[in-house]
């Protein structure tokens, strides 16, 4: 495959500052100026999925009927890439069973059910901790033990990232305060209300990474957050933290876009951010790190934006992990008869949930109940090759070509246009005048390719097993005939000696 990009001929391989992207309606006014709601009543039952993170599910260490305290370790991580689960409140372990997951399929997943007793009794919290007296390795250990995962939505175990960043001696820690998705304002409110804790958390992370420079990227549609964070960084940041304003567009919050804008570097396709000397974490993660290291509190709550046309009183809620989404929506006066789609996350990249009777997970930034007007859904028409999708794609792919090939069943040739590099941001589907569900095709195609890869592995394994079986049977036959020959020989011998004698 040889092709050339004329633009690259005179810019070299430099990534432009901003590439592609779209400007959806922000729809943040309803929730951006309202303080975080701390008054969510405790639900009658909390559902803690044992897998709310990338990696192996956590293994429960409590039994049904055990009484537990707030912040108590309920399930331990399995292996390196995993995260533990802690009790969001004190109560009794009601059951450990398969419960619908917060996933588009709502398939059941092992879940620990915790019945709160309403007393909110904490475990013994440590007194004063000096985070900077701890060694960097200890900080990673404690971050991992606190169950902290990427709170921007990716839910990747943060301790693993910190370890990688320290090992590769990164030069800059980037903090993602972008929040480019419409409706979502949880990071905005967090920065406005808890800026000093966030700055503290960033300093702790810098210490844990043996690094001296951090940049917080905030979109310019959040001027108050920018000002407040600036003040906190100037006062507490020890000169190590820079607060930068970035243009607001979607997907500015895509980590590689932010890396490119703030540092000018481009991450190679088969590499990670640490390969260019940076590591990125969400502001919410920084706050959770501060709570864990400075106060010894594990990750048991998060700020989540509840919004959408079918929600009467949209707002940001400080909610316990495991709270049923229906209770969050009910707290905000939602009207189920108007809700056409429930979304976990933002409308551009979030997951559609078939019903809100699934629990809040660590990676959920937003819960949306959307009405018919907000969800445009007409039937898809033919592609008119207008190539707006090519212009919108921040990665530089050609969605129209990929979809044409996927529809024709030629998945291998779709790979040539960059199917594997798709980040599913949704910009292409957003601009398509024919309303073709482009991202859905790519997700389907990637899933199909994964299935075929697994099928190929299985085929090779089958061949190997079949060959081994044939070899085993041949060996058995040989041994059997050798044994038979020996027996025959042993039976013949006496006759010979008899004759000789």
């Amino acid at each position: 495959m040889a092709f050339f990009d004329i633009h690259a001929l005179w810019t070299g391989n430099r990534q432009p500052k901003i590439r592609g992207g779209v400007h959806p309606e922000q729809r943040k006014e309803a929730t951006a100026d309202r303080p975080i709601d701390l008054g969510l009543p405790l639900p009658p039952m909390l559902y803690l999925a044992l897998q709310q993170h990338v990696g192996k599910p956590a293994e429960p260490i409590v039994n049904v009927g055990d009484r537990v305290l707030k912040g108590q370790l309920l399930a331990v991580s399995q292996g390196v890439v995993s995260a533990p689960i802690h009790a969001p409140t004190s109560g009794t372990v009601a059951d450990i069973m398969d419960y619908p997951s917060a996933h588009p399929s709502a398939l059941p997943t092992p879940t620990l059910l915790l019945e709160p007793d309403g007393e909110e009794r904490w475990i013994d919290l440590p007194g004063k901790i000096d985070p900077f007296g701890l060694s960097p390795e200890e900080i990673s250990l404690r971050v991992g033990a606190a169950g902290i995962v990427g709170l921007g939505g990716a839910a990747f175990p943060s301790a693993v990232k910190l370890n990688l960043g320290r090992r590769t001696k990164i030069q800059t820690l980037l903090i993602n305060g972008g929040e480019c998705e419409p409706y979502l304002t949880c990071d905005d409110r967090l920065m406005r209300e808890r800026a000093r804790a966030i700055v503290d958390g960033i300093l702790i992370m810098l210490h844990g990474l043996d690094c001296r420079h951090a940049i917080v990227g905030i979109e310019d549609n959040k001027p108050e957050a920018y000002t407040i964070m600036r003040m906190a960084a100037d006062e507490l940041g020890e000169g190590k933290i820079e607060i930068a304003l970035v243009p607001s567009f979607y997907p500015m919050g895509w980590d590689k876009q932010l890396i490119g804008y703030l540092t000018g570097k481009e991450v190679p396709a088969d590499g990670r951010a640490t390969d260019v000397g940076v590591l990125m974490h969400n502001v919410g993660t920084a706050y959770a790190v501060q709570q864990a290291i400075r106060h010894g509190k594990p990750l048991i709550r998060r700020i989540v934006t509840v919004s959408g046309g079918a929600v009467g009183a949209p707002r940001n809620i400080d909610a316990p992990i495991g709270a049923p989404l229906a209770s969050l929506l009910a707290h905000c006066d939602y009207r189920p008869e108007d809700a056409v789609r429930y979304v976990m996350g933002g409308p551009m990249m979030g997951d559609a949930l078939p019903h809100p009777n699934v629990p809040l997970v660590k990676g959920a930034c937003g819960i949306l109940a959307l009405t018919q007007e907000e969800v445009s859904a007409t039937d898809a028409k033919s592609c008119i090759r207008c190539s707006r999708c090519v212009t919108a794609c921040p990665v530089g792919l050609q969605p129209l070509e990929m979809v044409a090939r996927i529809r024709a069943g030629q998945l291998e040739s779709a790979l040539k246009f960059g199917l594997k590099d798709c980040i599913s941001c949704g910009s292409c589907s957003y601009v398509c005048p024919s309303e073709i569900p482009l991202v859905h095709y790519f997700k389907y195609a990637n899933g199909e390719l994964l299935t075929r890869d697994q099928a190929n592995h299985k085929a090779e394994q089958t061949k190997r097993l079949a060959e081994e079986k044939l070899a085993r049977m041949a060996r058995q036959k040989q041994e059997a005939s050798a044994a038979a020959a020996q027996r025959k020989a042993a039976a013949k011998k006496p006759k010979i000696t008899e004759q000789a004698a």
């Binding site: 391989n13 190679p268 990249m349 969800v375």
Partner: protein
């Protein structure tokens, strides 16, 4: 509540095919109105015949193919194709030319390939070239401007006869287009100075459109304004029009400096023929032009080059239709070789190399 499993994104920009087509039609409207105005009733008739038959042929094909008729017809693409075909016809052409043109454009040029978005060649240009080659006489009968109620204009009934009874216009009203006149004069050995004067060429006349030609060949100004409207509405981008017009202007400037008597200058080229219409409305057709911006520039430049070559050295006076068709055939090649660079990879698609080593 729909339980059909759908993927994000759940919100759209609201741009629809129909709004795109209607915006293009609005951009064409001023130029078309001018053309109908200066050529009178027959132009109006042939326009309606072409557009209506285009829509009818599209409906017929959709019914045959058992596709959704009303939903597809209302996206406006057949209307637009028929409109563009009408703009390429001689204004006093007989009705069956319009019908044949629509048939070639819609059925052969679009539906046979699979409908909207599947054709390789621009349907309007395909129709025009096929008609030009098949019916050279009817397709090259040009008239001088004759707006209604002027001396040489046909009345309503006369116009009906011209369009529907195939009555050729009288000799007094026929005339050549500027491009055609200049070419025939060259063949008779008379150079530019003479031919432009005897043909009655004036820059402003050409710009405003008081010249002979098809409906789309007259007012360069109005079609440019229409093109500007499309640019403002972000229906098209500047790449193809600028590349096409720029190439023609550049080549014309170079050659006119070499020999001013044999080669007309850039202003002549830009305002004559269907160059403005072609640059803004025809070459920019989504389906048949390349996907990437650099590819579009190559496409536009290629169109401009071929237009100039045909106009100057070819045997046809106007080359926009041929240029667009030839570049359409190269669009897949351009798309194959000129692609945007994928993030994290170099131009060949390999992952980027880091200057220093990595973990």
């Amino acid at each position: 509540m729909s339980t059909r499993l759908l993927s994000a994104p759940f919100t759209r920009s609201g741009l629809q095919i129909q709004s795109i087509m209607l915006t293009v039609v609005l951009g064409l409207a001023p130029g078309t109105a001018w053309g109908i105005l200066i050529f009178g009733w027959p132009a109006l008739f042939i326009f309606f015949v072409t557009v209506l038959s285009a829509v009818a042929f599209e409906a017929g094909c959709l019914i045959l193919a058992e596709k959704r008729v009303i939903a597809t017809l209302t996206d406006g693409s057949a209307l637009l194709t028929g409109w563009l075909i009408a703009l390429t016809l001689p204004p006093w052409a007989p009705w069956w030319i319009g019908v044949a043109g629509s048939f070639l454009g819609i059925v052969v040029g679009k539906q046979v390939f699979g409908g909207l978005g599947q054709n390789l060649f621009n349907p309007a240009m395909l129709a025009r070239v096929a008609l030009l080659v098949s019916f050279p006489l009817e397709m090259t009968v040009w008239v001088n401007p004759a707006p209604p109620f002027s001396a040489s204009a046909p009345g309503f009934l006369e116009a009906w006869a011209i369009t529907f009874a195939s009555q050729l216009p009288t000799d007094g009203s026929t005339g050549a287009t500027m491009l055609g006149w200049v070419k025939t004069e060259f063949s008779q050995g008379r150079l530019l100075g003479e031919s432009l004067a005897s043909g009655g060429y004036g820059f402003f006349k050409s710009l405003l459109g008081w010249t002979g030609g098809s409906l789309g060949e007259t007012s360069a100004l109005l079609f440019t304004l229409g093109g500007g409207w499309l640019l403002k509405k972000q229906i098209i981008t500047w790449h193809i029009p600028l590349a096409m017009l720029g190439t023609v202007a550049l080549l014309a400037s170079v050659f006119t400096l070499v020999d001013g008597e044999r080669y007309p200058g850039p202003l002549f080229h830009l305002t004559s023929g269907a160059l403005m219409l072609g640059a803004f409305f025809i070459a920019t057709d989504y389906v048949t032009s390349p996907n990437s911006k650099p590819g579009q520039i190559i496409f536009g430049a290629g169109c401009g080059l071929i237009v100039y070559v045909i106009r100057t050295w070819g045997s046809y006076p106007e080359g926009v239709a041929f240029a667009v068709l030839l570049m359409n055939s190269l669009t897949p090649v351009i798309d194959h070789y000129v692609r945007p660079r994928i993030y994290g990879r170099d131009s060949k698609g390999r992952p980027l190399e880091l200057s220093e080593g990595r973990e």
